[in-house]
């Protein structure tokens, strides 16, 4: 069973390693995030939602990134002709792989707001390096964009646009210590339930239609499958 086998391949992340080789740490965490994403079939999961709810019109975007918290020392170091030396402490805060299903307003059958631009559903696998936590977060967001200025003046050229973006969204997250992961199927169930709640919320606000209900319960304990659908109403 997956739960007994410790599905989460142990990530040897400790401060000592971070200190000795930060480059390899970023790499290994990114790889780790990719493995967990494959394990939970994130892409297939989002593709399934795309087909079921959005007639396959959305696009999938994967975005790996890392985030660093910077603490600058009071005194900056020497500055030579060749290099600038700062005294900087930096914490690798987290490393993330986010996969987003993005649907443009024009591809949605109904929309109640004219400035509504797009709808995004993201599943991100994050490793919080400070607390050694793994987090799977699902968030849905509706974005409104307004182009406000066209001309920024001579210094910038006249083709530069300024935008005003407003987003509203919801997220569901689940986090646990890397050293002691829960059973994989349990993680997947909670995650799928979160997606369902978010989509229900969008449907209730009139941004999407819900033709079917996602069933968050998977049948196969070893390998999480894309949720089946069934004809039920809430």
């Amino acid at each position: 069973m997956a739960s007994e086998e410790k599905w989460l391949i142990p990530l040897q992340l400790n401060n000592e390693l971070v200190v000795r080789n930060p480059q390899s740490v970023v790499n290994s965490i990114v790889e780790f995030n990719q493995r967990t994403s494959e394990f939970f079939k994130t892409e297939a999961f989002l593709k399934e939602i795309n087909e079921k709810f959005f007639s396959g019109k959305g696009t999938l975007v994967k975005y790996p990134s890392y985030d660093v918290t910077v603490k600058e020392a009071d005194e900056k170091g020497e500055k030579s002709r060749f290099n600038r030396f700062f005294s900087v402490n930096a914490d690798l805060s987290y490393t993330s792989l986010a996969t987003t299903l993005l649907i443009k307003k024009s591809d949605l059958p109904l929309s109640k707001d004219e400035s509504f631009d797009s709808l995004g559903l993201t599943v991100s696998n994050d490793v919080n390096t400070k607390d050694n936590l793994f987090e799977i977060q699902t968030y849905g967001e509706i974005t409104f964009v307004k182009i406000r200025y066209v001309d920024r003046g001579l210094n910038y050229g006249s083709d530069c646009k300024s935008f005003y973006l407003r987003g509203m969204g919801e997220s569901r997250f689940l986090s646990f210590p890397l050293v002691d992961p829960p059973a994989a199927e349990k993680v997947f169930q909670v995650m799928a339930l979160g997606v369902k709640e978010i989509l229900d919320g969008f449907a209730a606000q009139g941004y999407i239609t819900m033709p079917e209900v996602v069933n968050p319960v998977t049948d196969t304990p070893d390998a999480p499958e894309v949720p089946e659908t069934r004809n039920e109403t809430q």
């Binding site: 985030d67 660093v68 005294s87």
Partner: protein, 185 residues
């Protein structure tokens, strides 16, 4: 001085580092954001919310400087380095106002940030004023050994050619109304 460039030393082993161009830009961006933060009195905004709506019970965190960068999947060589890429890179500062609702379970948070985005092939450089309100509750699963939570948020990005105090004030005022409507405050 360490000879390797583009290496970030974590805080557990502080020391001087030689900065790559992008990281230098990041730090400059942070500086520029900080001066905007002061000029636009953004800290005062959080303080006034805390004072007028939360009876001073909220907690305002110290400003934190952060940088973030995307990793290009297609280039194996480049992801091997701790390299800040020019695309999708930002640097800036962020502060939070945090408070609990009476029940002690629901945790509310207003985040206010000012970020500088570096120019790339598609965009000129630009700044963003970033405000979110999030509400999250954390529950611990006894058997599963994990935390679950939920949050909802509103966020505003603004990318103007120039900021005016009035413009920012109007955004903040609207945001306060949103917080009230959403029963945050």
């Amino acid at each position: 001085m360490a000879g390797t460039s583009k290496e970030i030393q974590p805080s557990s082993k502080p020391g001087n580092i030689v900065l790559g161009t992008e990281l230098q830009n990041s730090l400059t961006g942070i500086d520029r954001c900080r001066s905007f933060f002061d000029k636009l009195q953004l800290m005062d905004y959080l303080e006034s919310i805390n004072k007028f709506y939360l009876e001073g019970k909220g907690k305002i965190t110290e400003p934190v400087s952060r940088i973030s960068t995307g990793i290009n999947e297609t280039s194996e060589e480049e992801t091997n380095g701790f390299v800040l890429k020019k695309d999708d890179v930002w640097g800036g500062i962020k502060v939070s106002l945090q408070w609990n609702k009476e029940d002690g379970v629901v945790e509310n948070e207003v985040n206010l940030g000012f970020f500088y985005y570096y120019p790339n092939e598609s965009y000129h450089e630009y700044f963003q004023l970033y405000i979110t309100g999030g509400s999250s509750s954390k529950t611990e699963e006894q058997e599963g050994g994990f935390f679950t939570g939920k949050s909802f948020y509103r966020k505003f990005f603004i990318n103007p050619p120039s900021f005016t105090q009035e413009e920012v004030d109007s955004i903040l005022l609207n945001f306060t109304n949103e917080l009230l409507e959403a029963k945050f405050l």
